[in-house]
Structure formats: structure tokens, C-alpha cells
């Protein structure tokens, strides 16, 4: 059997098996739409809060107007008592509560300090942080205005009053993901993981469906079969990868700061390492419904151990070491550095070598495993 005929036979086997087709072709396209879907709006805005205004003064109304004007907060109701506010929270009609104390304006005018109390539902961290951030900036703004007026009243000229309030300015700017968007936080990493997981499932089902019967896979040498299978899946997944990192990144406006050649070099190493891992793993299965189940169960741990969602230095070391054996993990990190943080090639070179190391390791394992199955 020639190489060309073998690869064609492999492609045909992949296409003909409906379970593989659902996962590989269906899964890759379906997830391209489904995973980014919840995050399309990118940032959490207009979190609903209720305000309990005990002061009812011009200043307290100004605070409420400022809060409502903040992009992070929407004031849904002004209530009389804290109990009413709790009712709103329990029914899920609001996720936060702000209390403006009695005598808010008077105490401020008298130069006493006052406290603005904010409560946010920390079951939802993004909601909580949006409410907290919004209220902090509302509080700071109001305070600044009051101080400014107080200094003017004491006869300072506006210029020096401004200066003594903002002696030093802070210019805090997010680097790499300037809109603080959720999309570029998770989606590129998840897309890479989808590529690896569907590949593992596809090659797993293909293997499991073949080991017990005979066919073209018995007629060639093990080395040839393993090589051809790795190449077939790698070529297929390079196409999918170009779809994900080309069109999908363009469509979802994800950052693409990496040089094309660097992105391609990383993807080639990643796809080859994953294909080899897929073929190696396939020799563990004899039932066609098993690969999906195993891969499904390990997906979430892989994503959370990747170091992109939760910082690597806080993950216990044994998990970090173990996770380095999964091709998607160095690939996600390297890709984030190259494509989102515009890192040089020299910075990800070691991760790239790691991918090639994994490719060699899994190729050897694939050879051993497939040989075992076919003998």
C-alpha cells in the first residue's frame, strides 16, 4: 500500500465513521460558535443595584445619579429600608445594595467623615468586582468635588487646590488586553483546547473501531500506519487550526499580535504533538464510546490547570509537572505570549521545544501501543 493510498484510506475511515465525523467536523465548527457565544458582549456592564437613601439630600441624589451614570452600575430602585433591599437581593432582582447614611451631606459639610456602604453578591465575582469598582469611583469623585469646594471656600486659588488634591497622578493602564474583555481572556485558550480534545476523541474512536477487526490497517507495517495516521490528523487539524486562528480570531476580533511565521511554527508543533498523543491514547481503548467520556472528564481540569485562568504559581507543583505532559498546556501558554502579548520568538522557544519533545515521546508510545493492539 502506497503512502498516498494509506492516507486516503485513513481520511475515508475518518469521514465514514459518523461518531468521528460528529466530533471532529461537527465539534470543531459547533464549538467555534458555541464557546465564544456567552462572551460576545465582552465586558460585564450595568449591574443592577438598589440604593437605600437615608439622607435624601442634594448630595445623596448626586451620588445616585453618578452611580447610575457609571457604565458598571444600573440603579434599579430606591428603597426605604434595608429589609426591602434584602428582598430584592433574594428574588435576584438586584445583585448589589448601596446604603447612603443619614446626615451624609451635613456631616461632610461639617468636616466629619462619613461612610458609604456597598454590598455585592460575591457568588458572581465579575458582578461583585464591577459593583465595587463602580461605587469606589463614584465615592472618590464625590469626595474630590467636596474637597475642591472646601478648599475654594477657604480661599485657595483653583490651581493650587487642584494640585494639593492630585499631588501625584496615577496612570494605570491595562497591557495586552486593553478592553479588559472576557473574550481574549478565555476564548483563544479554549479554542486550542477544543482542537486537542476533539483530535483525541477522533483518533480514539478510530482506533477503538479498528483494533478488533481487520482491514487496511493490518496490511501495512506499524511504523507506516502510525506515521500515516499522525500525518493525516495533523493535516486535518492544521486546516481547523487555520480556521480557528485565522477566520475565528478575525471574526471575534481577538488579538493577533504574533508574527504569522511564529504562530504557524507553534501550531505545527502543537498539532503534531496532539496527533501523536491521540494515536498513543487510541491504543488504550477497545470500546468506541469510551474516548469521548474520558476526554470529556479531563477537559475542565486541563483548562483550569493551564495557568491562563488561574496563575501557574498558585497551582500546586505536582499538578503543574503533570500538566506539562499535555500538549495543549505549553501550546496555550506559548500562543498567549506570541499572539496576545507580542512576545519574541526567543521567549517561547523553550515551550516550542517542549512541544517537539512531547511529539517524540507520544510517537514512541503510539508505536508501542499500536504494535501491541495489532499483534
Amino acid at each position: 500500500m502506497s503512502w498516498w493510498a494509506l492516507i486516503c484510506a485513513e481520511l475515508k475511515a475518518i469521514w465514514a465513521n459518523k461518531a468521528i465525523a460528529i466530533t471532529v467536523f461537527g465539534g470543531v465548527f459547533f464549538y467555534a460558535i458555541l464557546y465564544p457565544l456567552p462572551y460576545l458582549n465582552n465586558v460585564a456592564t450595568e449591574q443592577q443595584i438598589v440604593v437605600i437613601d437615608r439622607d435624601n439630600s442634594s448630595l445623596s441624589r448626586q451620588v445616585i445619579r453618578h452611580a447610575n451614570a457609571s457604565p458598571q452600575i444600573e440603579v434599579v430602585a430606591q428603597l426605604a429600608s434595608i429589609n426591602d433591599g434584602q428582598e430584592y437581593l433574594t428574588r435576584g432582582q438586584a445583585l448589589g445594595l448601596v446604603v447612603i447614611p443619614q446626615g451624609f451631606r451635613r456631616d461632610l459639610m461639617l468636616g466629619k467623615d462619613v461612610t458609604l456602604a456597598t454590598l455585592g453578591d460575591a457568588n458572581y465575582f465579575l458582578v461583585y468586582s464591577a459593583i465595587a469598582q463602580g461605587m469606589v469611583s463614584v465615592g472618590l469623585d464625590t469626595a474630590k468635588q467636596m474637597q475642591f469646594k472646601a478648599l475654594l471656600a477657604k480661599g485657595q486659588d483653583p490651581g493650587s487646590a487642584e494640585l494639593s488634591l492630585n499631588a501625584i497622578k496615577l496612570n494605570s493602564v491595562p497591557a495586552f488586553n486593553p478592553s479588559l474583555g472576557y473574550m481574549s481572556y478565555v476564548v483563544p485558550a479554549v479554542l486550542l483546547l477544543v482542537l486537542q480534545q476533539t483530535l483525541l476523541i477522533g483518533s480514539g474512536i478510530l482506533g477503538a473501531s479498528q483494533w478488533r477487526s481487520s482491514g487496511y490497517w493490518n496490511q501495512v507495517s506499524v511504523v507506516k500506519l502510525v506515521t500515516a495516521r499522525i500525518i493525516t490528523f495533523a493535516v486535518l487539524y492544521l486546516l481547523f487550526a487555520s480556521f480557528y486562528f485565522g477566520w475565528c480570531h478575525y471574526y471575534y476580533q481577538l488579538p493577533v499580535t504574533g508574527e504569522l511565521i511564529n504562530v504557524v511554527m507553534l501550531l505545527v508543533a502543537f498539532v503534531l504533538a496532539s496527533s501523536a498523543a491521540g494515536v498513543a491514547l487510541s491504543s488504550c481503548f477497545s470500546r468506541t464510546d469510551m474516548p469521548t467520556q474520558i476526554v470529556l472528564l479531563i477537559s475542565m481540569p486541563i483548562l483550569f490547570a493551564s495557568g491562563l485562568i488561574w496563575p501557574t504559581m498558585l497551582i500546586p507543583e505536582p499538578i503543574v509537572w503533570l500538566s506539562q505532559l499535555i500538549p495543549a498546556i505549553p501550546a496555550m501558554m506559548a500562543m498567549a505570549q506570541v499572539n496576545q502579548m507580542s512576545a519574541d520568538w526567543s521567549m517561547v522557544f523553550n515551550l516550542w521545544l517542549q512541544l517537539w519533545g512531547l511529539f517524540l515521546l507520544f510517537s514512541a508510545l503510539a508505536y508501542v501501543g499500536v504494535k501491541q493492539r495489532l499483534s
Binding site: G111, L170, L296, Q337, A343
Partner: protein, 377 residues
């Protein structure tokens, strides 16, 4: 029939593992990843171009924050390089001549850059750095007012007249495990319930035992499966939840009856969906792949990490296909807001549309029984 089912389960090591230790292993692994609960000692680069007493004081303030592990860099390029390599999560640049500018009535600018690609760490560091620097800058502004002859008490109020007290409800320490683990457990639990259901059907196909299984009527066969696996799944979910909250140090024993009810409904809803899919596809590998494609992304749709009402309309519709999205809301309402039975029942009525799947299941199982009766294998 029940005996037959239990015996088959006993002889199926994979399904037994799914019902017992596998979810525990996965959960322990995930919990272990988040053991540090709050990010601490995150590396932050400081480039001090001023080298004055004031700049060193600001550096001390930063170093004092438990979140920050300050590393000194002598030049900007090296710090930037470290940021790109994710050795540093943020950098603070103190400008040259800051102290001089301050004394001569100019207002210097301190630059802070944080890595928002790592959204969680970035946001946390941004607020912590601002807080730490604000504490230092307050001193500066205080002393500048004192030097102008403002009385000390007045100056202090001038510096911060409005104090803010911000309380995280339901999760008082802003604990990451408390926030994420229940949702992870629901996502994982849904997958396990789904796999249990599929495996119990797949076993009949694998052993060519469909006609034996449906011998006493198609519906009786389905009933047996449901009555064996739904209670087992609910038991498993309840045990996992109980263990999780015990570990998190939250006492939920009073809420357990309502949780059990909510879990029962979720298990039934999953069971309906999976049975319908299986009856339509009639092939275990395809059914597993299909259900996996559907339920693998359940986690982002739950709305715990990214709020539901900020999702586009289509996503909010797709959410409704997954029982986990209903359950997580009930779960949080029960555990955090202590809702009563009446309120829970109103929430549970959201599952009603799932009942239409019974038609698909009825048609599917009748057809399955017919084909197997015609061609006994």
C-alpha cells in the same frame, strides 16, 4: 428486572467508577488547583527612576500588600520583557524627578501597567496597586496640606472625607473556591449523570440485550433504568455537595432537603434529554459524542463566571437547553439566600418544557422495541 439492572451495573467497572470514585478524583483535583483560594505574592516589577526617599516609601507601601511580591528592575526594557514572558504580572514606573516635580508644584505621573490578558490577576493587581499607592500618596497630600498650615484633623478629613465599606455578600472572604467550586461541581455532576444514563443504555446495545431489556414492555424497561439510576445520581450529587461544603466550612445541613429536591429535578431533566438523544441516534458512540458536544460547554453558560444578563440573546436561549443553568440558580438561591419550598417550586417550574421530550422518547422506544422484536439477535 431491578436485580438484572443492578447485576449488570456491578459487572460494568466503568459505570461503577463513574458512580463512585471518578467524580471524587476529578473534584479533588480541581479543588487542589484552587487551594490557594486568594491570589497572593504575585510578582510585580518596579522601575524606580527617581531613587528618592518618596519613591522608596511608595515601594514599601506596595511591598506591604499581601497580593504583591515586588521585584526591582533597573531599566524599562527588562521589566517589559519580564511582563511579556509572564514572569511579572504588572509593572510600576516611578518617573525621574518625581520628588523634585512635587516640590516645585508640578504634578508628576506614576505609570502602572498590568497584564489584563490574565483578567483575574490583572484586575486584582490593578486595584491592589492603586490602593497601596493611594495610601502612600495620601501621606504626600497630607504633608503638603500641613505645610500650608491646615490643622491636622482638618487635613485628614480633607484627604479622605468619604470612607467606603464594601462587603462581599455570601462569600465574605472573596474566597475563590467558594465562588468556583459549586459551579464546577454542577458542570461535572451534569456530565456524570449524563454518562451514567448513556452507559446504561449502551450496555444493552453492546451485549445485544435490547429485546431482553424491553421484554416486559418498552416503558417498563425505561422505568427500571430511571428508577435505578436517577436516585443513585441524586445520592451521588448530594454526597459530593455535602463533602464540598464540609470542606469549604459552610454548614448546609438545613438546606439539604431543598437541595435534594432541586438535584432530583435536574437529574430527571438530564435523563429526559439524554434518553431522547439516545432514542434518536440509537448508537452509543454517536450519542455520547452528541451529548458531549451539547453539555461540555455548560460551565460558561451557567452565568457564574460571566453574568447571564450580559450574554447575547442567543446565548440566553441556548442556556435553557441545559438543566445545569436552571439548577445553579436554584442551588445558589438555596445555599445563599435560604429560599423556602414555595419559592423553589416556582423556580422548578422552569423545567416544564423538558416534558415535551417524553413524546420523542415514547416514539423512539416503541420503534426500538419493534425493530428488536422483528429481528431477534
Amino acid at each position: 428486572m431491578f436485580k438484572r439492572e443492578l447485576k449488570a451495573l456491578w459487572n460494568d467497572p466503568w459505570q461503577l467508577a463513574l458512580l463512585t470514585y471518578l467524580p471524587i478524583v476529578a473534584l479533588v483535583l480541581l479543588g487542589w488547583i484552587f487551594t490557594s483560594a486568594m491570589p497572593r505574592e504575585l510578582p510585580v516589577a518596579i522601575v524606580d527612576l527617581d531613587q528618592s526617599q518618596l519613591s522608596r516609601q511608595l515601594a514599601f507601601e506596595l511591598q506591604a500588600s499581601p497580593t504583591i511580591n515586588l521585584q526591582t528592575y533597573s531599566d524599562l526594557a527588562a521589566a517589559k520583557h519580564a511582563m511579556q514572558q509572564v514572569d511579572m504580572y504588572a509593572m510600576v514606573v516611578i518617573p525621574q524627578g518625581m520628588r523634585k516635580d512635587l516640590l516645585t508644584g508640578h504634578s508628576p505621573i506614576i505609570d502602572v501597567r498590568y497584564n489584563s490578558q490574565f483578567l483575574l490577576v490583572g484586575k486584582l493587581l490593578s486595584s491592589q496597586i492603586q490602593q497601596a499607592l493611594a495610601a502612600g500618596l495620601k501621606q504626600v497630600s497630607l504633608s503638603s496640606q500641613l505645610s500650608r498650615g491646615v490643622p491636622k484633623a482638618q487635613a485628614e478629613i480633607n484627604v479622605s472625607p468619604i470612607k467606603q465599606q464594601i462587603t462581599p455578600l455570601h462569600n465574605f472572604n472573596s474566597h475563590y473556591q467558594v465562588f468556583l467550586m459549586p459551579a464546577i461541581l454542577v458542570a461535572l455532576g451534569q456530565i456524570v449523570v449524563m454518562l451514567n444514563c448513556l452507559n446504561s443504555f449502551a450496555r444493552e446495545l453492546r451485549h445485544n440485550a435490547v429485546s431482553q431489556w424491553l421484554a416486559q414492555g418498552a416503558f417498563y424497561g425505561l422505568w427500571v433504568k430511571a428508577l435505578v439510576y436517577i436516585p443513585l445520581s441524586v445520592l451521588q450529587l448530594a454526597a459530593l455537595n455535602w463533602a464540598l461544603y464540609l470542606y469549604l466550612g459552610v454548614d448546609i445541613s438545613a438546606q439539604l432537603p431543598l437541595l435534594l429536591l432541586a438535584q432530583l429535578f435536574m437529574a430527571i431533566a438530564i435523563w429526559l434529554v439524554v434518553t431522547a438523544v439516545f432514542m434518536l441516534l440509537k448508537d452509543s458512540a454517536r450519542a455520547v459524542s452528541f451529548c458531549a458536544a451539547m453539555y461540555a460547554p455548560a460551565f460558561p453558560f451557567m452565568g457564574v463566571t460571566f453574568p447571564t444578563h450580559d450574554m447575547p440573546f442567543v446565548a440566553q436561549i441556548w442556556r435553557l437547553v441545559m438543566p445545569s443553568s436552571y439548577y445553579i440558580e436554584q442551588h445558589l438561591a438555596i445555599v445563599s439566600s435560604h429560599i423556602n419550598l414555595g419559592q423553589l417550586l416556582t423556580m422548578l417550574s422552569g423545567y416544564l418544557p423538558f416534558l415535551t421530550l417524553l413524546i420523542v422518547i415514547a416514539l423512539g422506544v416503541t420503534k426500538l422495541a419493534q425493530t428488536n422484536a422483528k429481528e431477534p439477535i
